[in-house]
Structures are given as C-alpha cells and as structure tokens.
Amino acid sequence: MDSLDRRRTQPAQTNAEAPLRETASQTAGPYVHIGCLPNAADVRGIYSNDLTVNRILPNAPITISGKVFEGDNIICKDVMLEFWHADETGCYDNGIWHRSITNSTSGLFSINTQMPGKTKTGEGKWLAPFVSVWITARGINLGLLTRIYFPDHESVLHEDPHMNLIPESRRLTLMAKLVNGGYYFDIHLQGPNETVFFDV
C-alpha cells in the first residue's frame, strides 16, 4: 500500500487504456454555438473573432445555402455545419474550410466560397467536384458526413467512381440546385428523401 503522501501527489492513470480506440463521439448539444461560432449566434464578448473570420475568401463567387430537416419535415434550427473542399484547381494543400450554423429563426445556413476543382482518387480516376459537409447537432450522436455535388458537372458525374457506389435512387439527394444564381442544398436527416451519409 502506498503511503498517503504518495497517493496525494501521484500522477493520474490515463483514461485511454491500450489497445487505443478512437474516443467515442458525443452530441454537440443545443449550445454548440457557444464553443464554435459564438459571435454568429449572438454570444458576444468571448472571442473577438469567430474562427471562420480568418477564413473569409477575398474571391468567393458562389453561395451555397440550404436547410436541415429532421423527421416529419421539421426544420432544424440548432445545427452546426462544416464545409471542406479543394480549391479551384482541385488541390487540397490550401483546401477551403467554412463553418456555418442554421439560423435560429429561419433555419437557413449559408456560405460564400469558390467552386472546387476536379480531384482524383488514389488510383488516378477523376472525381467530379464536390464539397464535403460535416453535420453536428443535438440528437446527432456521431457527426454526419455528406457531399454537395453541382448540376454544372452532370456529364462528369456519370463516370465518377464514388457516385457509382451510391444507390442510383438516392444520388439526387447529393445534388445542389441552382436557384437565383446561388446553389441550394437541403439536408434530410431521415424520411423518404433522406440524404446519403458516408462512412469513410
């Protein structure tokens, strides 16, 4: 038995026992804004700038906006979304990242960005341009990954090796619509129009 003095000063054992496994996810909860985009959610005075402010692009010709729906077609107003995509030349070294929340009144999210370029698989096959989207919120225990594709690249999509791994009847859930000069992309967490989510 260790002496009391030793027990009162000893280092903690790690909480992560071997063999190491990825830490379990937990929901971001209803107040994710405080931690991730406080100023955008009117929680002011903690950070002078939200993390996204340093990421605003000088040249961002396209907008992507949309809403997130839970079951029964209810609009979710407490979601955080992150967007990650290649630059216009298809390069990820200076990949483009954005974060947005669904508006607490309208439920709309929106980003201004560039059209990503075509990229390649590890085997050198062309992939149609896409934006990775990661979604967290109350009631989502493990962040959800989906992709936004664009109607401009329909011809490339027919030969896209990833698109061919998705059941044909569900592919349209990944396609943005061109509305009034901007891209519009709704996300359905469940129901007949459930968006395709990925395991990578």
């Binding site: 990825e22 929680v43 993390l51 990820y92 469940q190 395991d199």
Partner: protein
C-alpha cells in the same frame, strides 16, 4: 511522417454511440433510416483545415478569465484540464485545434435558449480553445461546470461535462465529444452517455483526478487523453509489398 498521404484505419463503431437511442429523445427524429454508404478515402478525407496561433487570442485557453472583468474571475471550483491528443497507434497529434465549451459553475450556459434557474455568472463566458504542442499536449484552465436538468421527457440531469471539438490532421478524424469527471454518479444514468453501449468507451470519456498536475492552493487538475483515428497499416504493407 506525413499522415496526410495515408489512409485512416476504419472507424470502430463498437466504441461509438448509437445514432438511434430513444432514451435520448432527440435521436428519434434525427437518426438515419439508411446505412452509411462506405467510400474509399481520398485527399478530401486525409487532408483537413490547418489552424495556427494567429487564429487564437491571448486568453483563449483560460476560461477563468477570458470573459471576466479586469481583476475578476469566474465562480466555481478552479480546475486545470490537461491531456494528450494521440492517434490509435499512440502517436501524438501536434498542432491540432481543440475547442471547448461548457455551462458555468451552477449548470447554466450563456446561450439565449438556456433558461435554467441557475444564474449566469457575469465573469464566465463558457468557451475556450488551444492548440496541441509538438508532443500532442494540451492544457486549459476553467471552472468545474455544474450538473443541470434538461428536457428529455422525465427527470433528466446531465453529468457535469465539458464539450470538446477536435481537428486532427485529416477531415476524417474530425471529432466532437464530451468530457466527464471521475466519480460523478450521473454518468451511469445519463441517456446521452449511455447511448454508447461499450463500458470501456464510456470510461474513456471520464477524466481522472491528477494530483501530480494540481497546483497547490490554486487549481485541481484533471487528466483527459483524447484518441483520434490512426493510420491504416494495410496501406503501409501495400507500399512495401512490391507488387
């Protein structure tokens, strides 16, 4: 080693919470009916956004004072939360952004939708962020958050917890989770925690009292190590296989 050129190992879903866990009522309308569609990884998954010190403010890692008036500090048990960010092979993940957010000492969030009886603390905002160092170490100061009741259809209370958001080296490592405190009896009866069916994975979310790191007459330390997905060893085998 440049991890961005490697694939990550497959996610071990046995250590992850169920998407549909009706005892946590909000999952009922937000879980998926379809299975996830498996895709091979590309640079979209193995690369990710990079953050640096210029993204952070001077007191971002000190929640005790980062919202407080000059000379004031937040009310609550003063704690230091520290640990290592590693991947599943035990390799440190350096220069990774960790963001945290939490309720105040009474269990109230500084958020317009939180109307709990406990008062706001005028000197506590409730969020912080830091970067891991070259060995994957991170540290921040805060106050221990209070437990609080939440609407889930019954008499539901959250264990005291701190939310963590972690960026690894690739977007496929992106993780949001919660840290709990050793000895909290709410952990075993919280539906959000128990949506993880694996007891060892739950235990991994519980920070340990760390007397060696505690600062006498100042701060109680808790150790909380975080593990991200590791590199896929089979990719390495293919490279050396020479076929």
């Amino acid at each position: 080693m440049d991890r961005s050129k490697q694939n990550f190992s497959k996610r071990d879903y046995s250590a992850q919470p169920k998407a549909n866990y009706p005892d946590y009522r909000s999952t009922i309308l937000r879980h998926q009916g379809h299975k996830l569609v498996a895709l091979p990884q590309t640079l979209a998954d193995t690369k990710g956004p990079v953050f640096g010190h210029m993204d952070l403010g001077a007191n971002d890692d000190d929640l005790i004072i980062n919202y407080a008036s000059s000379g004031k500090s937040a009310i609550g048990e003063r704690i230091l939360v520290t640990g290592k960010l590693l991947d599943e092979t035990g390799a440190p993940v350096p220069n990774a952004l960790i963001e945290v957010w939490q309720a105040n000492g009474g269990g109230r969030y500084r958020h317009k939708n939180d109307g709990y009886l406990a008062p706001l603390d005028p000197n506590f905002g409730g969020c912080g962020r830091c970067l891991t160092d070259r060995e994957g170490n991170y540290v921040f100061r805060t106050i221990k958050p209070g437990a609080y009741p939440w609407p889930n259809g019954g008499n539901d209370w959250r264990p005291a917890h701190i939310h963590f958001s972690i960026f690894g080296q690739g977007f496929a490592q992106r993780l949001i989770t919660q840290m709990y405190f050793e000895g909290d009896p709410h952990i075993q009866i919280c539906p959000i925690v128990q949506s993880i069916g694996d007891a060892r994975a739950v235990n991994q979310l519980v920070a340990r009292l760390d007397m060696a790191q505690s600062v006498p007459m100042d701060l109680i330390a808790y150790r909380f190590d975080l593990i991200l997905r590791g590199p896929n060893s089979t990719v390495f085998e293919n490279k050396t296989g020479g076929h």
